[in-house]
């Protein structure tokens, strides 16, 4: 009954895989379910480094449920081999199956990594949290770009418009039936002109207190918050510049990679950070052309002597900013926002400046913070 088609067909089998198709569908389902718990999962994900545009999330295989008995106190079975009643044997399948899993159809324990696009995640989150889009304060800034505009009889070959040229040829041959198929006169080239376009561009200052009192955990909280806040801004602005400023009793500008590694010591003088921001704005970001955002992360301690300077500096920034956000990373709930810096921002808010404050203690609260700031921002500006 041998059938000689076997080898001829084998090429065909490789063309598709039902297993792979159903596996992809499984992954889609996992992604859907992960989407629901995404905030908790990605809050702590190590996403910032290297400007990664994807997040890898460990997930479990989905189980297709069947009616199953409770796992028994003691599972009984039949084995083969040299064993006497009363013998004790090592754990079943030791070293063969990692983790639990009683065999059968139980796939327990198997984990794999699923990759998500950061942009998708941000879209989901904003949808999930029902966050408003940001309002641009400065939308007037113009940008020039090359636009297609009209046709000409001369031009670079690459811009030849074949369709248009054909039309010209047909038109011409209507009056001269025996004429040539194409003449130079038929050719039409697309023209480009420079045109001014309205653009929305923005700069966000991420300012962090890196004084001795800020622990590694505090910095990690700030890092996660900054990441998602920036993603949120990116949704709105085609051009978003990020500026990283860290301060202790003095302030420095860093690039992204260094920024989160910086660890200072000693006291805190917040006004130095604000002064640095003003300096950079004056140099590089004309507030009449840029929407300016600032997020400041600190544990709330600031030298009391710095109060007037800090308030003056911040007020000046607030005057030309869309929005100022203050994230307090703190260990205690009772003290939250009742700190030197917390009160500074509250005075600003009372004075009608577009600002909001939020205190976080752990990673899960990052989303509350993001939600708080973005909702508040929309109200403040919109």
């Amino acid at each position: 009954m041998a059938n000689s088609q076997g080898s001829a067909l084998s090429g065909w089998y490789d063309l598709f895989s039902r297993g792979a198709r159903d596996w992809l569908r499984h992954n889609e389902k996992v992604a859907e379910s992960v989407r629901k718990s995404l905030p908790e999962i990605v809050a702590g994900a190590d996403v910032l480094s290297g400007g990664a545009r994807t997040v890898r999330v460990p997930v479990r295989f989905l189980e297709h449920y069947h009616f199953q008995l409770r796992s028994p106190e003691r599972r009984e079975g039949v084995g083969e081999g040299d064993a006497q009643p009363g013998d004790r044997i090592g754990p079943p399948d030791a070293g063969r199956k990692p983790g639990k899993g009683e065999g059968g159809r139980d796939q327990g324990g198997l984990e794999f990594m699923l990759e998500f696009q950061v942009d998708d995640i941000v879209d989901w989150l904003w949808e999930e949290m029902k966050l408003p889009n940001l309002q641009a304060r400065v939308g007037k800034a113009e940008e020039t770009d090359w636009m297609r505009e009209g046709w000409d009889r001369r031009g670079a070959r690459s811009r030849l418009d074949r369709r248009r040229s054909f039309r010209e040829s047909i038109k011409r041959r209507g009056s001269q039936p025996d004429g040539p198929a194409f003449t130079d006169e038929d050719l039409r080239f697309r023209q480009l002109t420079r045109r001014e376009q309205p653009a929305t561009q923005a700069v966000v200052f991420l300012v962090m207190d890196v004084s001795g009192s800020m622990t590694d955990d505090d910095r990690k909280l700030a890092k996660s918050f900054f990441f998602w806040a920036v993603q949120g801004l990116r949704r709105q602005y085609r051009h978003l510049d990020t500026v990283f400023v860290a301060h202790t009793t003095e302030a420095w500008e860093f690039d992204e990679a260094q920024f989160f590694e910086v660890r200072g010591s000693g006291g805190t003088v917040a006004s130095t950070g604000f002064a640095k921001v003003r300096e950079i704005v004056a140099e590089r970001f004309d507030p009449s052309r840029y929407n300016v955002y600032l997020f400041y992360a600190s544990d709330g301690d600031n030298a009391t002597s710095d109060r007037p300077d800090a308030e003056r500096g911040l007020t000046e920034i607030a005057a030309y900013s869309n929005y100022l956000g203050y994230l307090e990373v703190t260990a205690s709930t009772s003290r939250a926002l009742a700190t030197e810096t917390g009160e500074l921002f509250q005075r600003l808010a009372r004075a009608g400046r577009p600002t909001a404050s939020f205190a976080v203690r752990k990673l899960e609260e990052i989303w509350d913070a993001v939600r708080h700031f973005f909702q508040h921002q929309a109200k403040a500006v919109g």
Binding site: E63, E73, R74, G79, E80, R88
Partner: protein, 461 residues
């Protein structure tokens, strides 16, 4: 001597000779088509259970798990065979000549088994001789449903139907009619007594029994859940019903394979060993390799192991058939092969001598992973071997009632199963069912202390 084209040609040339020998030795089987296919395809058909089958994400999970096991070197598939007329045997393209020779003889043993064993014959007489094509038709039908109703809706139906795939009643027919719509009318043709009785009163009260009565549905606890839902779900659409019945039909096809595994694998192993011994036409090198391969297949323990906490069905079945042929002769063995399933086979033919020879023992594994050897008591061994096979390997659950509002009531027979259901999983299954039943679904089982436990979806209904 791995799967080179030359080895493949040599093998193909040997197939008719092996078949001739098999038939001369007494095997009687429907024709088998042999096909050599890539290993990924082998893995797929073993995961799906059929060469072409409906799509479902759970197959994807099994496929990847199998692929991982395979990459880690835990499993090698030599052959997958689908009984039918003709039967289809798929051999891994990577098999060596010796492996292919062994596998061919093995497949013929399976073909003989499935062409003669009662369970297979009854299933084939109902499902039809070519399940492979039936399954492809189902897959096509489901592809059409996906086109018409969308992948999500079809998936919801498959989630439910495939979750219940073991919940059929194998004693029923594949094409099973609905319950009688009305109770049979009691009174027959008027007899003398009835005539005279009626004459006593000019306006006799109508006899209640004479009224056509809607009988209770189900009239008795119904374990054929796929059939029951297909026929009695309040708002099931036609195509959804077809999906349930397609899954059910495939389950009827899978049942004999499941219920005769030890016998069937043993029978195939007995025959590959015997045909190899008698095949004088084999190149001697291939013979030696094939025998080595045989002893790998039927050995009870992995290399270096003293004991195994599982039985190798090939080994147990093979040893039992050797003893039976020795005792009853080939004709006696063939009669057992025709009439038994694993339940009667193990109970009747796994003798105390054989259990001792095979070094079978019963063990208990605690939750902490420690295992102790309990005993080698024969009736207990029988029970422990067969326990995973009762009721198609699933808990016994029956539909007991449809309420006026359409609520479906299910009952778990915890006394038969010895303990309650895992409530989380059971609730998930009820959720699957609820999406097609479209009315509340309830299930009664017991909790850990033996008290009644009712699960409802939607919760609190």
């Amino acid at each position: 001597m791995s799967g080179s084209p030359a080895a493949a040609d040599t093998w193909r040339a040997l197939v008719p000779q092996i078949e001739q020998l098999a038939q001369a030795t007494g095997l009687r089987y429907d024709p088998v088509d042999f096909e050599s296919v890539p290993e990924t395809f082998m893995m797929e058909i073993s995961v799906y259970g059929l060469p072409v089958r409906m799509p479902h994400w759970s197959f994807g999970v099994r496929y990847i798990s199998r692929l991982i096991q395979h990459r880690m070197g835990h499993s090698k598939l030599f052959e997958v065979v689908f009984p039918g007329n003709p039967g289809h045997a798929y051999l891994a393209a990577g098999n060596s000549l010796a492996e292919n020779v062994l596998v061919t003889a093995h497949v013929l043993g399976h073909a003989d088994f499935s062409s003669n064993n009662m369970l297979f014959r009854s299933s084939q007489s109902q499902v039809g001789p070519n399940i492979v094509e039936r399954a492809a038709t189902h897959a096509h039908q489901i592809a059409m449903a996906i086109e018409e109703h969308g992948a999500k809706r079809v998936e919801a139906v498959l989630d439910a139907a495939l979750a219940l795939e073991q919940h059929i009643d194998v004693n029923q027919r594949v094409r099973r009619p609905r319950y009688p719509e009305t109770a049979p009318k009691k009174p027959g043709p008027p007899d003398e007594f009835r005539r005279r009785f009626a004459a006593l009163d000019p306006d006799p009260p109508r006899e209640a029994a004479a009224e056509p009565q809607r009988p209770r549905v189900p009239p008795h606890p119904e374990r054929d859940l796929l059939w029951f839902i297909a026929n009695y779900a309040p708002d099931l659409e036609g195509w959804e019903r077809d999906v349930f019945l397609a899954v059910r039909e495939e389950s009827f096809y899978f049942y004999p394979v499941f219920a005769t595994q030890i016998m069937n694998e043993g029978w195939a192993s007995y025959w590959h060993a015997r045909l190899l011994r008698e095949a004088s036409f084999l190149p001697s090198e291939a013979y030696v390799d094939a025998i080595k391969c045989h002893s790998d297949v039927v050995r009870p323990l992995a290399t270096g192991e003293q004991v195994a906490l599982a039985v190798n069905p090939y080994h147990v079945g093979f040893s039992m058939w050797e003893k039976i042929v020795e005792r009853d002769g080939l004709e006696g063995a063939r009669r057992i092969m025709r009439e038994d399933d694993d339940f009667s086979f193990i109970r009747n033919h796994l003798t105390p001598e054989l259990a001792t020879e095979l070094q079978l023992f019963r063990f208990g594994a605690e939750r902490d992973g420690s295992v102790s050897v309990l005993d080698s008591d024969l009736p207990k061994l029988h029970d422990a071997l067969l326990a995973p096979k009762y009721n198609f390997g699933a808990p016994s659950i029956a539909a007991t009632r449809i309420h006026v509002d359409g609520t479906l009531e299910l009952l778990h027979d915890h006394q038969t199963d010895g303990r309650g259901l895992d409530p989380e999983r059971a609730t998930r299954v009820l959720e699957y069912i609820h999406r097609v039943w479209r009315r509340p679904v309830k299930l009664t089982t017991v909790n850990t202390s033996g008290g009644g436990l009712q699960l409802c979806v939607p919760a609190g209904s």
